[in-house]
């Protein structure tokens, strides 16, 4: 027993991991102590763990995403340290392989995705004048499955070992024959668990946006961020089932001995690559389109102008979404497909540049004849344009299959997708977070610290990734844990850049703490002179969002309201508001799924089977739950609104 725990269950023999174990234990003890000492358990349970309020769920998503950004960032720094000089002995190859695998997986699935879904949760219902999402219970469930999926993935590095087959997990390497350890199971089950939540979120937002818009808001009058959320939801609904099936098949291969992708038994390893990228390529657009939405909102708000070419922006996103499903082969041009297939996928890939180019020029057009304010959200949006253009044009270069034979699997590719994902998604999420921050927390983020953090990040980002284009052309492959002497100068530069970049993140996080303490409280509700409905309600936003819902005439609903003097609090039209009750079941059910998944990782069917039964029991309990929520009485609405609007105390 003890032998099993020490040799197989816990990861031993690595000083860094002992350090991590100690810090996990200390942090857990610390959190439990604080919660107990300040008697916060009940508050935490009542206000957050059981919440079905989309705004709180959004905040929890974003906090989790920032924590994962920290984890993925530390992974990145460790990798860059190891690659700074030839023959570094900071990490050995096994450890390095685990770290780049978890870095990729964490950053895409547990950082970018939840960050985006968090912002969607915060902003979309407010932008369309809804009181919540269509399925609030499901929304809470989505969050908790993501959360427990992320936790399952994160414990792997202290319990049982991290997956090390890359975030793409190509078989045969990741298959049962060449990776018999349990570490790969973590990848499969953690992604499966959080994937359930993502799919549910996609359905939830599709229905919310299609069914719950304010009167008068036709599709072509929706704010552009809501449009991006709608298209993203549709991509999620089409793409995620592919991942679910692919993961399930590999789980069967690894745990139950089937032969879908294995070397032996006529399995088809290439099918994994196809299924993975058939999901994985649309996934790239799932994380970039909402960022495009954020940039459109931010640039239009801070240039104080309508969005240039609103309709073209919408159509461009639709075209990008469609194309995202027909380019997956460009991830393996080198797999020996014939010239015909490669030509077809080269051209579809390059075609994505067309709608993307339209969007870039429309953003520039939005600034034309504007009156640009350089607040922090706008800075992130502005930095996006030149940097993303570099990412975009190198993407076109990678799309040229015959040239890609030289770029494939090299640092050229690494540089390209970091230019796209950091300058696109991450800058977009930072822009969105600072932009909606006053709506979420009732105060702005400090502008001065925000600007310092911005410059560190942008400069560090370019120092890190620009040299990597050249490293790729010099022949440096990705995923190598040690470098050749001739690659040293550029690698050293890149590592230095990574630390500057990380400093930017640290300052960003510090700003959250600083702003919470010292920034003046925001009372108007319209912190940036905004244009869409989320700025029409008060800050803090009441849990029912809008006392009365306005009639919408254009895609800049609040701008119109400000011109005509309309308000979202019309005392004569007040009615009791129907709201859903808070539920403990989502977190309990997700926790049971976590236990079942953990059991499956270890082939412990004594835990997995009862876990599965527990999930079914939870579903049964839920189906007999006849609680239809409650109504907020008119008196209470009046009291809340008048207090928030400063009319009476």
């Amino acid at each position: 027993m003890w032998d099993f725990i020490w040799n197989d269950f816990l990861v031993t023999g690595e000083p860094i991991i002992y350090g991590a174990m100690a810090s996990i234990v200390l942090a857990t003890v610390g959190i439990v102590f604080v919660l107990t000492y300040f008697k916060l358990w009940k508050w935490l349970w009542d206000e957050y763990l059981t919440t079905v309020d989309h705004k709180k769920i959004g905040i929890m998503y974003i906090i989790a995403a920032l924590a994962m950004l920290f984890r993925g960032g530390v992974d990145a720094l460790m990798m860059r340290t190891q690659l700074a000089l030839p023959n570094m002995n900071f990490l050995n190859s096994v450890h390095y392989n685990e770290i780049f695998t978890t870095h990729g997986t964490v950053m895409i699935l547990f950082m970018a995705m939840p960050f985006i879904i968090g912002l969607m949760n915060v902003a979309v219902p407010l932008q369309i004048g809804a009181r919540d999402v269509a399925f609030p219970f499901l929304n809470a469930f989505s969050f908790w499955t993501f959360f427990f999926g992320a936790m399952l993935f994160n414990i792997s590095f202290v319990i049982g070992g991290s997956p090390s087959a890359g975030w793409t997990s190509y078989v045969p390497m990741a298959g049962p024959e060449l990776s018999p350890e349990i570490n790969q199971n973590y990848y499969l089950l953690a992604l499966q668990l959080s994937g359930i939540g993502t799919l549910a979120t996609g359905i939830n937002f599709l229905v919310t946006i299609l069914r719950m818009r304010a009167p008068g808001m036709t599709l072509m009058k929706m704010p552009i961020f809501t449009w991006s959320a709608l298209i993203t939801s549709i991509i999620i609904i089409f793409a995620f089932p592919i991942l679910t099936i692919a993961l399930a098949l590999m789980t069967l291969d690894r745990i139950f001995g089937t032969h879908f992708f294995t070397l032996a038994g006529e399995g088809m390893p290439m099918m994994w690559a196809n299924l993975f990228w058939l999901w994985g390529h649309p996934e790239v657009y799932i994380v970039i389109l909402p960022a495009f939405g954020v940039f459109s909102e931010v640039i239009s708000t801070f240039a104080r102008k309508q969005l240039f070419g609103y309709k073209a922006m919408v159509y461009a996103m639709c075209v990008i979404a469609g194309l995202s499903f027909v380019v997956w082969v460009h991830h393996f041009f080198t797999m020996g497909a014939g010239a015909g297939v490669n030509s077809l996928f080269s051209i579809t890939t390059m075609l994505i540049a067309v709608p993307t180019g339209i969007k870039i020029f429309n953003w520039l057009g939005t600034m034309y004849k504007g009156r640009i304010r350089f607040n922090v959200p706008m800075l992130w949006a502005l930095a996006f344009i030149p940097n993303f253009t570099i990412g975009g044009v190198t993407g076109v270069m990678l799309g040229m299959a015959s040239a890609d034979y030289q770029y494939h699997n090299t640092y050229f590719l690494i540089a390209h997708f970091h230019y796209v994902l950091i300058a696109g998604t991450l800058f977009g999420m930072f822009a969105g977070l600072t932009y909606w921050y006053p709506k979420m927390f009732g105060h702005k983020m400090n502008e001065k610290i925000g600007k310092i953090s911005f410059w560190f990040t942008v400069i560090g980002f370019n120092i890190t990734f620009l040299p990597q284009f050249f490293l790729g052309l010099m022949g440096m492959p990705r995923r190598t844990y040690t470098i050749e002497p001739e690659w040293m100068p550029l690698n050293l530069l890149s590592t230095a850049g990574a630390f500057i970049l990380a400093t930017g993140f640290v300052i960003f996080t510090f700003n959250i703490y600083y702003s919470a303490r010292y920034e003046p409280r925001e009372k108007t509700g319209d912190a940036w002179d905004g244009r869409s409905l989320e700025w029409a309600t008060t800050t803090p936003v009441p849990h029912y969002n809008f006392a009365t819902i306005p009639y919408v005439n254009s895609h800049e609903a609040y701008w119109d309201m400000k011109e005509t003097g309309a308000t979202t609090y019309d005392e004569s039209k007040l009615e009791p508001i129907h709201m859903p009750s808070y539920k403990g079941l989502p977190i309990i059910m997700s926790a049971i799924m976590f236990m079942a998944s953990f059991g499956l990782v270890w082939h412990w069917f004594w835990l997995a089977i009862p876990g599965l039964l527990g999930v079914i029991i939870c579903m049964v309990i839920r189906s007999f739950d006849f609680d239809e929520g409650y109504h907020v009485p008119i008196d209470e609405i009046k009291r809340t609104e008048e207090q928030a609007r400063g009319r009476k105390e």
């Binding site: 050995n92 090390s164 890359g166 070397l263 309508q306 339209i358 570099i390 040229m400 015959s402 699997n409």
Partner: protein, 312 residues
């Protein structure tokens, strides 16, 4: 088609040369842009062409971007003269910036497609010669180069004659890998149970670095080989040396090689293709049948330090 390509090439010659100068002077030692054979040259030309075209786009966007943020920024002596909040689109402009990218994509597609078809067969310059066939097989983390005509095999190094096309037959015994010799041309995957063909050629004598470019676990960084390109006579001399002096690649020895681990360079006077061809469907579970469940235990090469064959 051909005319179109050369027209485009001429059109972008001037900025192309400029970009080339910039790149070549700033960072000599950029292997991919310093080709040593016709395949790599085709790819290098395509890369330079695309870099040129893309630089134009980047410059246009950058110029417009800085113009907008400087011209329309809010500044102390601001007047409403240039401010038009209701300006929300311009159909002509939008059509222009939709059509131009289409033209650019077309401009890039033509040379991409022509070169894709060209790379499917041996380089045109030397099509009077029969390509030299080399089977390049991998298992964790070794390269086996079999020369079926010469009936010899090398481990982790390669000799090729200059100015003659090489037809690589790629396959893998286990994980997916990729044969990449950046100086000679781009990579292609080695996979179990499948055979890929890759044509490369060296125009000059010399030593080039080759490697597996697709991640395959612990020993990935060490999964490299050297390529020696030499004159026809020297190559033939080397072949007969190996044929006469090297030991045979017996089945037992080869099975031992298949165990995960690193190996030193070696040569043999027969090939493993006599026992197993990983490029055939029948050969793809050879290694798992041989080592079964024990294979995985060998896969953790500690920090890439040596394997069972290090001492030999």
């Amino acid at each position: 088609m051909k005319n179109l390509v050369s027209w485009f090439k001429r059109l972008f010659m001037v900025p192309g040369l400029f970009a080339l100068l910039l790149v070549a002077s700033g960072c000599s030692g950029i292997t991919v842009l310093d080709p040593k054979g016709p395949v790599a040259r085709t790819q290098q030309e395509l890369i330079i062409f695309s870099i040129t075209l893309m630089s134009v786009i980047v410059i246009v966007v950058f110029v417009l971007f800085f113009y907008m943020i400087i011209r329309f920024r809010e500044r102390p002596n601001w007047t409403d003269k240039d401010y038009d909040p209701h300006q929300h689109g311009n159909t002509t402009l939008e059509i222009i910036w939709t059509v131009i990218p289409f033209i650019i994509v077309a401009a890039l597609s033509v040379p991409t497609v022509t070169s894709l078809y060209a790379l499917e067969s041996p380089p045109e310059e030397t099509n009077d010669q029969e390509p030299l066939v080399i089977h390049a097989d991998t298992s964790n983390w070794k390269w086996y180069f079999s020369y079926p005509e010469q009936d010899i095999e090398t481990v982790n190094y390669l000799h090729i004659p200059e100015n003659r096309p090489i037809e690589f037959k790629l396959a893998s015994a286990d994980s997916m890998t990729a044969l990449w010799i950046p100086a000679l041309g781009g990579q292609k995957y080695n996979m179990a149970g499948m055979q890929n063909t890759l044509y490369l050629q060296a125009d000059e004598e010399g030593e080039f670095a080759g490697r597996n470019a697709n991640y395959n676990g612990s020993g990935f960084a060490e999964h490299t080989f050297t390529v020696t390109s030499e004159s026809e006579e020297e190559f033939n001399q080397w072949v007969s040396d190996v044929q006469n002096n090297a030991p045979e690649m017996t089945k037992d020895r080869f099975d031992q090689y298949l165990e995960p681990g690193l190996a030193q360079e070696a040569e043999y006077s027969s090939t493993h293709l006599e026992y197993v061809d990983f490029g055939m469907n029948s050969g793809r579970s050879y290694i798992t049948d041989l080592y079964g469940g024990n294979l995985g235990e060998q896969l953790h090469l500690e920090g890439g330090e040596g394997g069972p064959w290090e001492e030999e």
